[in-house]
C-alpha cells in the first residue's frame, strides 16, 4: 500500500495519510521514551545495587514515568522577567522538532519506513546539528549566568564532536557507495556487518554519538555540580520536559542509526532467518540502548578541557586515518582479487 501511495501524485490526501502515520510513529516514540526512562532508572538501580522505581504500577514501577509526566503537566510555568520572552518560548520547539524530524528517513525494516530519500544519512546528520541552536537559544534567552555557560558549552561540545561523528561514517559510505540507509543495509547483506569491517569507525562513532547525545561521561552541558542544570536552568514544567524529551528521542534515533550502520539493521544472524526482521531490529536496537545506559553507570564525567582535547586531538585524527586506510584497503582489495 505504501508503495502505491509513494508513487501517486502528491496532494492533500497523501499529506493526510502521512500525517496519520507520522502521528502513530510519534506515539510509538513517546511510548519508547516513557519506558526508556523507566528502563534507565531500573538498570541504573540494579547496577548500583538498589531497586529503582518500585512503587507506582507494581514491582516494576510501570507507571512511574507516566506519573512524572502528569506531574510536569501540572507544574506552574514561570518565565523570568529578565528573559527574552519570544526566544525563551521558541527554544524548546527548536530543540525538539529536529529530534523528531530525523526519524523520517530511518528504515526499521525493509517494508517499515517512512521517507526513502537518497541522502538519508546526510539528512540525519544535517538535521540533528540543528538541536545545538535550540540549546544556545535557550541559554541566551534565559539571561542567566549558568544557562549561558551551559548553552555555550553545549555548542562547543556538539560542534566539536560532530566532526568525528560525520568523519567516522565516511568509511561506511566508501564501502557501500551510497548515502541511502536502505542501500547501506543492503551492502551489509552482501558483505558483513560494518562493525566487523569498520571496527575503528564503530568506536569513534559510538564515543562521538555519546557526546552528541550529551550523555554521561560527556554530560558537561548539564553538569549539575557546576552548572546546576546547564542551559535549561530557568525552564520549568512542560517547557523543560521538551528538552528532556528531545534528548530521549535522540537516544531512540541514534540507537536506530547505530543499528543500521554497524549491526546490519533488520538483517538476521546466519541460520536464524525465520525470525522476522522487525524482531531483529528491536533486539539490536535494545542492545545499543542498553550500552548507552551501561555507559552512564560506568564512567565518571570528563573534565571540560579533557573533553575538548580528546575530541580534536584523538578522535579527529583517528577518524581521518580510518577514511584513508579504508580507501586504500578497498583499492588494494580490488587490485589483488
Amino acid at each position: 500500500m505504501m508503495e502505491e501511495l509513494l508513487h501517486s501524485s502528491p496532494g492533500l490526501v497523501n499529506f493526510g495519510i502521512f500525517f496519520l502515520l507520522g502521528t502513530v510513529l510519534l506515539l510509538v516514540v513517546l511510548g519508547f521514551v516513557t519506558y526508556a526512562i523507566l528502563a534507565e532508572r531500573k538498570v541504573l538501580g540494579f547496577m548500583q545495587n538498589r531497586m529503582g522505581p518500585n512503587q507506582l504500577g507494581g514491582k516494576w514501577g510501570l507507571l512511574q514515568t507516566a506519573a512524572d509526566v502528569l506531574k510536569l503537566l501540572l507544574k506552574e510555568d514561570t518565565i523570568p522577567k529578565l528573559a527574552d520572552k519570544p526566544l525563551f518560548i521558541i527554544a524548546p520547539v527548536i530543540a525538539f522538532a529536529p529530534s523528531f524530524m530525523v526519524l523520517a528517513t530511518i528504515p526499521f525494516t525493509d517494508k517499515l519506513q517512512f521517507a526513502d530519500i537518497g541522502v538519508g544519512l546526510l539528512y540525519y546528520i544535517a538535521i540533528s546539528g540543528l538541536t545545538t541552536i535550540g540549546a544556545v537559544t535557550a541559554g541566551w534567552a534565559s539571561n542567566n549566568k549558568y544557562a549561558l555557560l551551559g548553552g555555550m558549552r553545549a555548542a562547543a561540545q556538539m560542534i566539536s564532536y560532530e566532526i568525528p561523528l560525520v568523519m567516522s561514517v565516511l568509511g561506511i559510505i566508501l564501502l557501500s557507495g551510497s548515502l541511502n540507509l536502505n542501500d547501506i543495509v543492503a551492502a551489509q547483506a552482501d558483505t558483513a556487518w560494518f562493525i566487523f569491517l569498520q571496527p575503528v569507525a564503530f568506536f569513534v562513532f559510538l564515543i562521538a554519538a555519546t557526546a552528541e547525545l550529551t550523555r554521561v561521561p560527556f554530560d558537561l552541558v548539564e553538569a549539575e555540580s557546576e552548572l546546576i542544570a546547564g542551559f535549561h536552568v530557568e525552564y520549568s514544567g512542560f517547557r523543560w520536559a521538551f528538552f528532556m524529551l528531545s534528548e530521549y528521542v535522540y537516544l531512540f534515533a541514534m540507537s536506530a542509526l547505530v543499528t543500521i550502520l554497524f549491526f546490519g539493521g533488520w538483517l538476521p544472524l546466519p541460520f536464524l532467518g525465520f525470525i522476522p526482521g522487525a524482531i531483529w531490529f528491536a533486539l539490536k536496537f535494545s542492545m545499543v540502548v542498553f550500552i548507552f545506559i551501561w555507559f552512564r553507570a560506568t564512567f565518571p564525567r570528563l573534565r571540560a578541557d579533557h573533553l575538548m582535547e580528546f575530541g580534536w586531538k584523538v578522535l579527529v585524527p583517528i577518524a581521518l586515518a580510518n577514511i584513508f586506510l579504508t580507501a586504500l584497503g578497498k583499492e588494494l582489495f580490488e587490485y589483488f582479487f
Binding site: 501511495l5 509513494l6 508513487h7 501524485s9 502528491p10 499529506f15 502521512f18 500525517f19 507520522g22 502521528t23 503537566l73 501540572l74 506552574e76 510555568d77 514561570t78 518565565i79 529578565l82 528573559a83 520547539v93 525538539f96 522538532a97 524530524m101 523520517a104 528517513t105 521517507a115 526513502d116 530519500i117 546526510l122 541566551w140 534565559s142 539571561n143 542567566n144 549566568k145 549558568y146 549561558l148 555555550m152 555548542a155 562547543a156 560542534i159 566539536s160 560532530e162 566532526i163 568523519m167 565516511l170 557507495g177 551510497s178 548515502l179 530557568e234 514544567g237 517547557r239 571540560a304 578541557d305 573533553l307 575538548m308 580534536w312 579527529v316 581521518l320 577514511i323 580507501a327 583499492e331
Partner: protein, 124 residues
C-alpha cells in the same frame, strides 16, 4: 513522472515530520496552560542564581576560545562536505581521486597541526 512523484512524496513526509515536531510542543503547552496553576509573585520571576540576589547582566563578553573552536568547526565541516560526494562516487573515480583527496586532506591536517602547536586546542 513516476520518479518525480516518489521524490516529492518522500520530501512531503519530511515536511509532515516537521509539522508534527512543531505541533506536539505547541499542543502540549496549550493543554498544559488549561491544567497548570497560575499564581504569580514578584520573587518567582527573578533570575535564579543559587539563592543570592542576581547581579550584573549575564550577557557578558565571552571567552574567545569558543569562537576559535567554531571557526575550526567550519573548516573541518566543509572538509567533510567535500569528502561525502567523493566517498559516494569513489568506485567510479579510482586511485587518482584517492591521491587528490589525500593532498586536499593533508593540507587541512597541516592546519590542524598548526592549531595544535599554537595551543589553540588547549582548553583553559
Amino acid at each position: 513522472m513516476e520518479l518525480l512523484n516518489l521524490y516529492q512524496n518522500n520530501y512531503l513526509i519530511v515536511f509532515v515530520f516537521l509539522c508534527l515536531g512543531v505541533i506536539l510542543p505547541v499542543v502540549a503547552l496549550f493543554l498544559g496552560k488549561l491544567l497548570r496553576p497560575y499564581k504569580p509573585s514578584e520573587a518567582k520571576y527573578t533570575t535564579y542564581e543559587s539563592g543570592i540576589e542576581p547581579f550584573h547582566d549575564s550577557r557578558v563578553q565571552f571567552n574567545v576560545r569558543y569562537y576559535i573552536f567554531a571557526l575550526m568547526f567550519v573548516i573541518f565541516d566543509v572538509e567533510t562536505v567535500f569528502l561525502y560526494p567523493w566517498a559516494v562516487a569513489y568506485d567510479n573515480l579510482g586511485i587518482f581521486a584517492l591521491i587528490e583527496m589525500t593532498i586536499f586532506v593533508f593540507m587541512l591536517i597541516i592546519g590542524l597541526v598548526y592549531a595544535w602547536k599554537k595551543k589553540v586546542l588547549k582548553w583553559i
